[in-house]
Structures are given as C-alpha cells and as structure tokens.
C-alpha cells in the first residue's frame, strides 16, 4: 500500500533533517522525501499541514508486566500506551515472572507483542539464571530467541568474579550487556537521594556512591573484558563525568537516563508523595543539571521513560512502603520537549529519543531515512490537552503527571506504514 504524508514538518536528527516536505511510504518502508516517486498518483494521502512528522520514538525501558504481573499491566495495554505516546520501538526488562532467562519466555513476549500489533518489542535477556547473580544464563540461546542484549537488571551479582566471567562470556560472543550500576550494600533500605531533603524528612538515603562505586567497577571490568556495554538510568553528576572520561580514553560505552531524573529533583520529597519514589532516586539540582549537560554533549545518548506501571494500591502507603517507579511512556515526547526550557534544541532532544537510543542497541529504528521502516509520528506541538485517569492508556495508576496539562500531543503513530494509533 502506498501512503503520502503531505506537507508536514519533517524533523529527523538522524539525517539532520528539518524541512517542510512530503513523505512517501510504500511496502512498509520510506521510499522518498520531497518529490513523489513514480506510481504514487493513487497513493492514500494524509494531510500533515501544521504537524510535525517525527521518527517513531525508541524507548529503552518499558516494563510491559507480562508475563506475571497482570494487575500492573499487559503487553497489550502497555503496548497501546507506548504507541499512543509515539513510541514505535521499545525494550522491555527481563524482570517478568517467569524471568526472561529462557528462549521460550523471550519468544512468548515477542509473539504476544506481534499479536497486539503495537510497537516493535525487544526483550532484554537475563544475564544470570533467575537474575540470581550466580549462574550464567544461556546467553547465546537468548539472543538467538530475540533478546537484544543481556542484563542483570537491578539485581546484584553474587561477586565481582562472577560478573567478570559473565562479561567475558558475553564478550566472546560479541553480546551487548546493559548495566544498572548499583552497589547494593550502599543502596539497600534506601528510598530517596541521600541529602538535605531525605535527612530533614527522615527518609533513608541512597548515596550517590551507591551508583558511582559500582559504575567505576563496571567500567574497569568492561575495559578488561572488552564487552560491549550500555549504562542504564544513570542519575548522578559524577556518573556523567566518569562515563565521559572513559569515552575520552577510548572505551566504547553508551548511557541513558530516565526522563524524570532530568526533569525533577529531590525537592519534591516534602510532599511524602510515593509517586516520586523511583530507583535510582530523584537527585539534587546539581545532578540534574549535569545530566542535561550530558545529554547536550552526547555522553548520554538516550532519554527513556523508564515506564513501570503499578496498580493503584502500590502507591497508597507511606513513602518508603510504596513500590518504586513511574508510568510515563505515553507522555515521554511532550515531557522530553519540555527540555527546550533547559536550553536543549529540538534536534538534540529528538535525537535522544529516536536515533540515539537506536544506535546504543544497534537497532534499525528511529530514522526517517529512505529505506527505513516507516515508523513515524504525527505530532501537534501546540495542542493543549490534559492527561487524566480516564484518558490514560497505561494500566498503571502511578504517574505524578496524571492530571497535568500538556502542550504537544501525538495525533497518530505509524509502525511499518500502518496506523496503529490515531488520536481524536
């Protein structure tokens, strides 16, 4: 089927594109920009005048909660939430029940995602069996079954020795490993950034050293083993500095950050509102500004939603007793574009939610280049709307942004040339 997206503002950082033009799609792919190819007279047309035409978003962290946590979400519900936010490619963590440590679970998730017909879904495989940190998973079988990379998620490794061996084994097979750097002996029991706010409010702190000590160890082991590596959800100024130094010294590592760590700080903790309970925690203003600087200078390649839907009761408790996490995938785009107010330009912001994350994982996504799969978003940048409990798509109840008004709305999302979501 031929499709012509007429007269939109095409913005694609992967090819330095920001221009008013038509986009032509044929047989699931983008076949031309600007001038119509031959045989497009009978193409179906969509008028995108006044709209932005963006590459579909690539979100490196969307918990689908399936299998195992149907009270929190499902592949269908969270997939729909993702495409309603313009996310056409997503990576889901291995902490399902059962855990993604066998090819059958990896296959199940992908089959269900295909069935749902929403975003392209790539699971992460567990680095160790049952994420126990002690026994290596069948890494090659997992990646053969579609796992895009391996991670022990937020679960600790039994020892630095086992971690070294896991990295050596992954490196032997040229597999990508995703790190959530966390020295558990420093972070356990904590629920908030260790600082003035946690101290004043009597909340157990998570010091920045919990992240940086583990990050330094991880960097040293990456250098030693030569494994391909990506750092997920960094939160501290020092982490940005350490990764920048490692890259300057020639180490090929990438990093991402969660959108809430870039927009919020621990100053919100005076509400004792469990919606702000996230791991890693919201940190100081200095950390937040360093993360923004890292996004600007490219040390941080990707901004993700770190979407973690929860049932209502998970947040109805005193702060420390609430389950951590926010469910923001459907507002990732307008939230990310709020970073314009922080001095980032559109091209940089869009790059960090499209081509940037795609390149971290070697995904063919996040681009409007001719020959790419036609994953794209029609976005009305000045549309005012309110995100409400009623119009939300995620099954999760847990976002401090529910109830807020936004400027900028996804009007339609296309995956491989098919409209999978249309607003209105």
């Amino acid at each position: 089927m031929k499709l012509r997206i007429r007269n939109g503002r095409l913005m694609d950082p992967s090819q330095g594109l920001d221009t008013q033009a038509d986009l032509f799609i044929d047989n699931q792919k983008i076949v031309a920009i600007g001038e119509a190819p031959a045989d497009f007279d009978d193409a179906q047309e969509v008028d995108a005048s006044g709209l932005w035409v963006l590459p579909g978003l690539v979100d490196l962290a969307v918990s689908l909660r399936e299998p195992g946590f149907s009270q929190k979400g499902s592949i269908a519900s969270e997939g729909r939430a993702a495409v309603s936010g313009g996310v056409t490619t997503l990576i889901c963590p291995p902490d399902t029940k059962p855990i993604v440590d066998t090819p059958s679970v990896a296959a199940l998730i992908q089959d269900k995602a295909d069935e749902a017909g929403m975003a392209n879904v790539f699971p992460l495989g567990a680095l160790t069996q049952g994420l126990d940190g002690a026994h290596l998973s069948n890494m090659v079988s997992l990646t053969d079954a579609g796992c895009i990379a391996l991670s022990n998620h937020r679960h600790p490794m039994a020892s630095s020795k086992i971690l070294t061996r896991a990295l050596e084994y992954a490196a032997s097979n040229d597999l990508l490993v995703v790190f959530h750097s966390d020295e558990v002996s420093l972070s356990e029991g904590g629920c908030a950034h260790e600082g003035l706010m946690s101290t004043a409010h009597g909340l157990a702190g998570i010091p920045e050293t919990a992240e940086t000590i583990a990050l330094m160890r991880d960097l040293l082991l990456i250098e030693k083993t030569g494994v391909r590596a990506h750092f997920a959800r960094i939160s501290c100024a020092k982490s940005v500095e350490m990764i920048a130094n490692a890259r300057a010294a020639g180490l090929d590592v990438t990093a991402d950050v969660a959108i809430h760590n870039v927009l919020l700080t621990d100053s919100v903790l005076n509400q004792f509102d469990g919606h702000y309970h996230v791991i890693p925690p919201l940190r100081s203003e200095a950390d937040r500004l360093a993360l923004i600087e890292g996004i600007k200078n490219g040390v941080i390649s990707a901004i993700c939603s770190d979407h973690q839907p929860h049932e209502k009761m998970a947040k109805v408790a005193p702060f420390a007793a609430t389950a951590p996490g926010m469910a923001n995938v459907e507002v990732l785009l307008p939230l990310a574009l709020q970073l314009v107010e922080q001095g980032l330009d559109h091209a940089t912001i869009l790059s960090r939610i499209t081509a940037g994350p795609a390149s971290c994982f070697g995904l063919e996504a996040g681009s409007l280049a001719v020959g790419s799969f036609a994953d794209f978003v029609l976005y009305k940048e000045d549309e005012q709307w309110q995100w409400t409990p009623e119009n939300r798509k995620t099954k999760g109840h847990n976002s401090p942004y529910i109830g807020e008004s936004f400027t900028g709305k996804v009007l339609a999302t296309y995956v491989s040339g098919q409209c999978v979501f249309a607003n209105r």
Partner: protein, 335 residues
C-alpha cells in the same frame, strides 16, 4: 495528583491547627500558643479535680503501630483529662502488607466515627499519609513517624526549657547522640530555631550526625567538649542497641567514653544548665546515673509537662476541626 504540603495540610483556613503532624512550617505564634495553653493546664494538674470538659463526647483513638508505653500513656491521660473517651489500639504490621493494612485499618476506624487519631508508625510520613487519606473532620496527631517527626515530644521539651529558663532568646542548646535516627531531634531543631534560640549544636560522630543538618540551621560538633561548652540546655538522646550492628558505632563503652554525659562533661556546660532526655534512658550508655538523677536533670519534669502539652495540642486541634466544620457549613448556607 500533587499531594498537599504537610505544613499546609495541618492548618485550617484561619491558620489554626486542625492536625498536628510536624513543627516544620509552624510559626512562633502558634508554638507559643501551645506553650501558653500547656502552662495553664499544668497549673490545673495541681488541683484536686484534674478534668476539663473540652473534649467531652469526643472519641480519641490511640493508634500505635509501634510499641510505646510512655507516649501512649501520657496521650491517654491527656485525652481523659479533657473528658474524651479513649480507645487504645496496638497494631502489629508485617513489612509486606504495611500500606494496605494501614489504609484498611483506617477505614475500619473511620466507620466507628472517631474524632481524633493519635498515630505512631515506623514509616516517615505515615501521619501525613493518614491525614490525607482519612475522612475530613478527624484530627490526626503525630505521636512519632519513623525518623521524621515527634512534634509533641519536642513541644514538651520546649515547655520544659521555657519553665526553667524563662525564654528562648540567647540560649545555646546541645542535642547529643543518635541524631540520624531521631525524630525527636528533627522536631526539636525546628522548634528551637523557630522560637529563636541563639544556637543549636548537634553532637555525635559523623555516622550519627549527617552533615546535611548544618543546612537546617544547626551547628555540627563531633567533639563533646566543644559541643557542650557554655550551653544552657543539654538534650541527650537514647542510643538504640541495634546501632552497633550496622557499623555505626564500635561499642556502647566507646560511645560513652566519647559522648556519654558524665559529671565532668556536664561541667563544660553553663553552671545552671539543665539536662533533658526523651526517655527511656540507658544509664551508663548515654548518661551517667549521677547526672540523670542529679540536680541539673529535669527528665521527670519533662514527663509531667508532656501531659500538659498533649492536652494543649489535642484541644487546639479539636477546636480547629470544629471551626473548619462550622466555616464550611456557613459557607454552604451562603450558597
């Protein structure tokens, strides 16, 4: 979705207390009003008939998710002297089902049409959580939430200081020991800085006195002599035995050697300094028996003052709630 600021949550539109959750954000006027009212109740305690009818017909529920004898007893006595009906509930919670059981417990108690909950809970922010999720018109009194706040304890300490020192201007106060885990110290710090003392020193090793307290207006001392030099008031905090397990301290004896309040250490303070302790005291761990029972000690006065302060807070919160109801009723009539 944004929850309300706890500081705003506890005041009605006229600026009167309707809950009592934290001292953070309460101004000098309201703290002084609590002390003045407590003073008047104190003189009443010396009379043969100790009851006043301010809470007659009201039901006060002591909701204790954490064990406490002293605090619960003085709250019970305070409520009874105000002529309230009092129910005591001690509720054990399992760590896994805390949130749900807390909310379910609340809903059950609401159904009994109580007027006031006095709450102690091991989670910081628990009293605030309850105030938000409770039906309106029920006053919540924080009797200690995690490490966050213990506002009635701090106010009884303020009353004790005022009765012995006359005023707060110019006073130097040292709080010694496990500041990190202490909700009492946090509330005292708010009260002392609001009431205008000259200096608040927090004294202890770095493991128990995080540097962030200096951003809250305190002076941090890691040396007891420097901390006690010329102070008017010494507050000793209880040292929990489990602190030794977490690597926060080597031993009780070394803590006593460095930070224990002995007669020698007390001599560094002003000659008329008073010694306070929220209790229960560990003799020979944070304070010597000689000092605890000595002429500078006002530890037992604190207990007496505790009843008066709790009567003041209970009666103020109840009248704040009644005023709120009256205001909303008359606003309804105007419409």
């Amino acid at each position: 979705m944004m929850r309300s600021d706890p500081r705003a949550l506890q005041l009605n539109e006229r600026g009167q207390l309707k809950h009592f959750l934290t001292l953070d954000g309460l101004d000098k006027t309201i703290l002084t009003e609590i002390l003045d009212r407590a003073d008047s109740f104190l003189s009443m305690g010396e009379q043969s008939v100790k009851k006043v009818p301010l809470l007659r017909g009201k039901t006060v529920v002591n909701l204790f998710f954490e064990n406490s004898t002293r605090t619960r007893t003085t709250f019970e006595l305070a409520a009874k002297r105000l002529s309230a009906d009092v129910i005591n509930l001690n509720i054990e919670t399992s760590a896994t089902s805390k949130g749900e059981s807390l909310l379910d417990t609340l809903k059950n108690l609401e159904a009994m049409q109580s007027d006031m909950f006095v709450v102690r809970h091991s989670d910081s922010g628990a009293a605030h959580f309850i105030a938000e999720h409770c039906t309106p018109n029920v006053a919540i009194i924080n009797a200690g939430d995690g490490r966050h706040a213990h506002p009635t304890q701090a106010m009884l300490d303020m009353l004790t200081i005022r009765r012995h020192k006359g005023q707060f201007d110019g006073l130097k106060v040292a709080i010694v020991g496990d500041i990190l885990h202490s909700r009492v110290a946090r509330s005292q710090l708010h009260a002392l800085t609001t009431l205008g003392v000259d200096e608040v020193r927090l004294v202890g090793p770095k493991t128990l006195v995080p540097s962030y307290f200096s951003e809250m207006g305190a002076t941090i001392c890691h040396d007891l002599e420097a901390g006690l030099r010329d102070v008017d008031v010494v507050v000793m905090l209880r040292l929990q035995k489990e602190r030794m397990a977490g690597g926060l301290l080597p031993s009780e004896s070394e803590f006593y050697r460095l930070y224990g309040l002995t007669e020698e250490a007390l001599s560094w303070a002003k000659s008329d300094a008073i010694v306070m302790h929220p209790g229960p005291i560990n003799r020979g761990v944070e304070i010597s028996s000689e000092v605890a029972d000595g002429e500078h000690s006002v530890i037992l006065n604190q207990v007496t003052n505790g009843i008066a302060v709790r009567m003041a807070v209970l009666s103020m919160a109840m009248s704040g709630q009644l005023q709120t109801i009256e205001d909303s009723n008359s606003a309804g009539e105007n419409v």
